[in-house]
Each structure stands twice: as C-alpha cells, then as structure tokens.
Symmetry: C2
Subunit: 379 residues, 2 copies
Amino acid sequence: MKAPALAHHHHLLSATRIPRTNLRPRTATPTSTIRMSLQENAPSLAVVGVTGAVGQEFLSVLSDRGFPYRSIKMLASKRSAGKHLTFEDNDYVIEELTADSFDGIDIALFSAGGSISKQFGPIAVDRGSIVVDNSSAFRMDENVPLVIPEVNPDAMKHIKLGSGKGALIANPNCSTIICLMAATPLHRCAKVVRMVVSTYQAASGAGAAAMEELELQTREVLEGKQPTCKIFKQQYAFNLFSHNAPVLPNGYNEEEMKLVKETRKIWNDMNVKVTATCIRVPVMRAHAESVNLQFENPLDEDKARDILKNAPGVVVIDERPSNNFPTPLEVSNKDDVAVGRIRRDVSQDGNFGLDIFVCGDQIRKGAALNAIQIAEMLL
Amino acid sequence: MKAPALAHHHHLLSATRIPRTNLRPRTATPTSTIRMSLQENAPSLAVVGVTGAVGQEFLSVLSDRGFPYRSIKMLASKRSAGKHLTFEDNDYVIEELTADSFDGIDIALFSAGGSISKQFGPIAVDRGSIVVDNSSAFRMDENVPLVIPEVNPDAMKHIKLGSGKGALIANPNCSTIICLMAATPLHRCAKVVRMVVSTYQAASGAGAAAMEELELQTREVLEGKQPTCKIFKQQYAFNLFSHNAPVLPNGYNEEEMKLVKETRKIWNDMNVKVTATCIRVPVMRAHAESVNLQFENPLDEDKARDILKNAPGVVVIDERPSNNFPTPLEVSNKDDVAVGRIRRDVSQDGNFGLDIFVCGDQIRKGAALNAIQIAEMLL
C-alpha cells in the first residue's frame, strides 16, 4: 500500500517491536503496482476530517482494501485547507469543509467530531450523499442505522447507492465495536442476558494529539521533568485513569453509557443488561476489554472457543500453557479483533457464564475499518 | 523518616509528579529526631528478603510508624550477605538466611518468595518466632490465619507475642487486600453475593526487577530499539497483558484464583461467588481494580459512599463534575486505599448492585503495610 503522507504521529508505534503474530496480515500491495481504485463507474468519495488519526486511517484502509472510487475529496478545517497530501500516487489539495463540499459526492466518510457531523451530516444527506459517520452525533437516532457489518448488516439494507437519496449510517463507538465483535457470536448461540465490561482504552481514542501527549509525557517523566498535561488534566504516563468523558447524573461516564445503549440498539434487544467501567491506560492505539457474560442458555467454553474461531473478523489467541493471550500491541494495525482467556465463569452455576478478554485496534476496527466495511456494503 | 539505603530502583517513581491529593499523608519524622524504636522491652525483629521491593518497604513502614523493636536482623540470600544497610541511623550487615537465623527472634517478616517461606517459615515457628508471611505459601492452610487487620483481625486473636509459642500468619495477596479494603465495609452492610473483578496491576507485583524492566523497555521503545524482555516474555512498555501467573486447568491464572479463594477465607463465607480477570498494565507500583458487586440486601450508592468515607484505611475520591477519581499514581506511596466511581449498577434491578473503582499501593497496603499492621496487633 501507499500510505498517506500527512501525519507523522505514529513515530512511536512504528518504532515498537512487531510481535510474532497469528493474526491475518494486512493486504500488502507492492508500490510499483498501478492501483485500479480510480474507476469511472465507481463512487465519488469525500473524507471529512482527513488530517485526524481516523481520517488518515480511512485513507490507509481504502488503499489496503482496494476500495474503488471515481474521485476522492479531502476535507478538513480551514486550518488545514491548502495543504497537500499524497494518496495512491496522486497529489491532493486539502479543501475546507463547507456546505458545498458534497455536491456530486456519493459516499462521505466523516470523522471530525460530533459537532461537525451534526452541522454537515444533514447537509451532505440533502445533497444526496450517503454519510458514514464515525461520531456519536446520530448513533442513538432511531432513524439512523448503527452498524457493525459482521453483526447487524441488515440494519442498513434499505440504503442504496445510486438511488439519488442521501442517508446517514452511524459507526458505533470503538469500545462497543470491539466488545460486540467477540460477544455477538456467543450471543447468537446462547443469548447474552447480562454483560459486565471493564475497558483498558488506548490514547488514540482521544485523537492523534493524545497519542503525542502520552509519548511526550513519558519522555518527560523518564527525564525527571513535570509531564505536560494539555489533552488530559492529569499525568497519563505510567498511570491510568477513569475515561475522560463527562460523567452523567447516574454516575456513568458517556463512554460507558455508549456501551450500554449501543449494545441494545445493535442487538435490537432492549432487555440486554450491560454495565461498563471505562479506563484509559498508557497504550497507544488498541483497546482491551475484560468481558463477563451471563447467558440465557448454557454454552460451554469449548463450544464458545469454536464459535469464536469461526467468527468473521475474530481471531482466537488462547494458549494457556504458554500464557499467550491477546495484547493491544499484537492487534495494533491489524484488522481482526483478538479474543482469549475464554473460560467458564466460576462465579456462575453450570455453563451459564463465561469470562473473555478482547483486544482490537481502536483506530482500525474500532473506527476506520468498520466505517469502510459499511461503505463496502453499499457497493 | 530515614529511608533504607539499599535499593535505588525507585528513581522513576520519585521523578514522577506528586499529584494534588486528599489522601492522608505518611507520618513525616524530621531526620534530626532521635528515633525511639530501639527499646529494650520491645520485640526482636527479623526481615527476610530485606533487599527486595517489599523487604525495603518493610523497613520504610516500620520507620514511618515508629514500630518498636529491641533489635532487627536483616536477612537475605547468600548473594546479598555481607552488604551494609543503614536503617534509622544504624548500620546493619545483611546476614545470610539460615536455619539458625531465628534464635531469639520474636517476629519475623517474610517476603522472599513462596519456596523460602515453605522452607524457613516452619523453622522460624519451631524457634518460637511469629512469622508474618507475605508469600502465598500458607495462605490457604486452614491452620494459618489470613488477615487484613481492618477486615478480620479476630482470625489471629489466639496468637500472642511472648507466649513462647511460634505461629504463622499469612498476608493476603495484594489484589485481594486492595479489593477487600473497599468491598468489606459494603459486604458488612448488604452482604456481597457475587463480585466480578478486573484488575489493572502494576509492575511492582513482580518485584523490583520488573519495575526496572518497565523503565528500561520504555526508554528503549522511545529510542526505537527492541525492548529487553527478561522478567516478562513480551513487551510491557506501552502494552498490557494477561497476568503472568501460571494458568490453571480451569482457565483462571493463579493470581485470579487467589482473589476467588482468599476472599472466601477472609470473609469466612464459602458461598461468596467471585470471578476475576487479572491484567498487568504499564504502571509502576499501585494496582487498580474495577469491581462489580451484587448484594443480598439493597444498598444505595449514597449510603455506600458514606460507609466507605467512614471505613478505616479507605479514602473516597469520587468527584463526578470534575472527573476526579482514584488513580494508581495518586495512591503511590500512600497508606490508604482509594475508592471512587461509586454508582448504582444499571445492569441490576433496584439497589442490589454497585460498580466501584479501587486503587491501592501494591507494595505498601498490598504487602508491607498490611504485614506490619498484623505485627502491630501482636504488640
């Protein structure tokens, strides 16, 4: 693949050891190959928030997957407008996002925050674009499908490309996607009645600047200096803290309530009970989640492991003798969500409970990949 | 206090920012004060494993709390024997641990690993010493009390100093101590029937060398080098992984089963149901735990908060509007366990469930402080 040439904030991660892995590799395309993505009968695309961590990953994933497009418009704030960007051997000038940006755009990939989505999402729809929105702006809107392609593709089956009608499709929150990639195959078999989730969330969920702050703070602490706290109000290096999302009157923070509410919507099951505690840990770009499951019907751990081994987009890493289980580093820059520590919950009778540990790349399956898989379903 | 002068591995932590805190400060004793701990009618002490992270903390805590002693013997492996150590303005020569080390010792504080405890604990008891053992060797022995002084002091009330009879008292595992410091006051009020725990465990639990490895690896990764993996088999810097304890046939690792079994013993309740997922995070010396509680009797979150505010050894940090909750950094080098994120569990009906988030210094309350509080109960 030809990587996008704007962001340089992945320095630290690219410097980390690439671990031995049994995950499926990303599609590797020799740079000498002429890409066939520029196709006349393919959709015209727009990427909103192209300079952000997820925006950059949109481009990587489009390239990796050979997503076909007739044209691609790079949109960002006024601050970035006029800068150049190389994508798949073509030079692009970043344009300022305005109400006119969406004329003739078939698919618009949004990742520029909730307020931008609220303002420009409906405008794009009016112009006939199908918007795949990575923000939380429309997720709980009953008229907007909230989709994980492996989980509930039917929720968006009424939306058709080329019908001339615009539409909104929401990408779920990263923690929800990663959790449900593992929980859904088990839910289909034994029906999850209650789920207790504790997360270990990476810096990337707060954007590229948060990743930079974690790296900077770590250097500062190692040098005996005061850590710079701009994105987060407290030291992040060698520390962890309750997720920085605002806390609601019920004591849950918004990140936790996304897991509670989005699960109900995606599973179309208003009775599923979910509680979550969301914590930020000093990891760069992949989330981990400890998930305790209670089932309506019995499901033993061997069957659960088999189900997960056969689940699309899921890889099982569960080698007890060698203590080899999923880690955030191992899933970083990977498409698949990794599941391990699959075991019968000793605190529940019989086979009505399981504990699992899930890791997934927050920027990739937690955001950009899922959005582009949604776009692929439109083709 | 006069800090012990052997270990230098706390470099990184002392370099980290000391956060604003509402925790009770450690007792500060001006170094010019003549300490009164050396007392003729006080017990003779031995510290086994004095060069380790917990051994060093034993000395800090003894000094901080003005623990009275007639004499103190510094014991370690042959490798460290002959080295000098300054403690409370006195010079000590570290002696090799042998069967004869315990002649005339009233209280022996052990933290040199399970096999040393198994070999030398019974020898010390034979010589009339009361052994407070920080290893897992005797924790589940039905004849050995497993004690958190704030939780079950009565379990050791039959053991008397000066009776001439030796005895063993076990210090619980760090994760158990930290969890039960917060859960027990609630359990006394509403009876915990089930507990789902996910841990965020610091490097210190694996010893001083693990803390050094985390620091070294972090430097290496920031410099673009391969991280050195000696203590752990995989990259720890900017990563996290399932606790390195061996995995048992039921799929739980030993660390997790300690939480399950020790809770039953300490609460003297064979029916309490516990499940745990134990994860190591790149934090230096304090653990965090996400704890979901199910109660037999209703307990609302306001009452729970009041109970915890009045619990000995517990401090509540639960400021929702400012998103100020416990962090491992804030409790590092502190005695108290901090509890926050106290909220009604939305996945359970009525007031029969709570979620809480707990942080505690692994070396201090998780090990050395608890052991010395046990020893204090003998005075």
